[in-house]
Symmetry: C2
Subunit: 240 residues, 2 copies
Amino acid sequence: MAYELYYWPSIQGRGEFVRLALEEAGAEYVDIARRTGGVAAMQRLMEDARAAQPPFAPPFLKDGDVLIGQTANILLYLGRRHGLAPREETGRLWAHQLQLTIADVVDEAHDAHHPIASSLYYEDQKAEARRRAGDFIANRIPKYLGYFERVLERNLRGERHLIGRRVSYCDLSLFQLVAGLRYAFPRAMSRLEPHFVRIIALHDRIATRPRIAAYLKSARRIPFNEQGVFRHYPELDAAN
Amino acid sequence: MAYELYYWPSIQGRGEFVRLALEEAGAEYVDIARRTGGVAAMQRLMEDARAAQPPFAPPFLKDGDVLIGQTANILLYLGRRHGLAPREETGRLWAHQLQLTIADVVDEAHDAHHPIASSLYYEDQKAEARRRAGDFIANRIPKYLGYFERVLERNLRGERHLIGRRVSYCDLSLFQLVAGLRYAFPRAMSRLEPHFVRIIALHDRIATRPRIAAYLKSARRIPFNEQGVFRHYPELDAAN
């Protein structure tokens, strides 16, 4: 039976990390909210008063009777089923730890344009966003990318992957993180990238994996835009 | 062999969610950084250039050769070993999903006093903090607590626990969330609490569990303070 992915239909957002894993796995899935009436179906499911295990927010994944929320949790589940993470517990937890750290950067990338409140327009927190994005670019991106660069460098099985010698959902997520940061902060990233050659090489390799390459060219890949997590506001991409 | 917990010695912070699970489990553990020279030991471990799987930040837990980072990931590991989460996969993922949602609120509680940058003093982002805390109190706390209240209400095994009929690490974490929010925003919480009677009842029950009660009275429980995640700045606890 096909997986059902529930996520906002017009953005990559956090759902994209799940989409990439499903695509790399060659898994059958339906991106529910992108079908006619799909957003309403998603909202019905979230508000279903009979649901004993309601998700807090999209994305969530339905696999038959199982409903799983929280991006990293979904990947923990999929990784095990599709060989996208180590099998044994220690490796599985290491993969999950990396994914949670990627999730932390993603949260901060979001807050770079919405430092005060998600419920307010960007325009209503633009001054604050400028300050926060400045710190994100100057301190946080280098700190996080420095970390992932070290993890690649120290992988005992070689620096082509974050974990072992096979692709994992963490590699896919790191690809997406780089793609998102490049979209949002092109000037900052072009200055930073020379310091993170292993990460950039990984990004480029992931983009050429047959299923990922096919996905990226397809209409299933929603373009980046200014409703998602990664937003390009030139005034936030300052040369600081 | 005793677990080794690595976390900042002067705050509850994110490490407290791990401490509570270890205490409830009656597990032997050493809170490394609280011993003489412990912070240096923690930093050496983080900066160890030979470490193949370095943690990004505290807390992390050492169990023999296994080193696990990210709070929710540590709880995933401990939950399984100490009966603090359901055994089968679906229940385990549900517990983890709830924990990740608690982690999200905790991040937001932190950003309520540091909306611009962790690297800046609170005093340097006070105006922004006032705006963000206002939204946190008006919109986010009610949204999150409303969610956990529903989860309690819908638990098929009764509303005494978030999951099934036994205590899980999620219950301990929800206790800590309430304790932290009460410390940081006493006025806001006294107004909100009547809407979340199941959560408050759970908080009160957890506080009286023998091991938790003993822990809370002990010197091992660090008092809340203005270096941690939950900080009491009266000007942020506005009557809005």
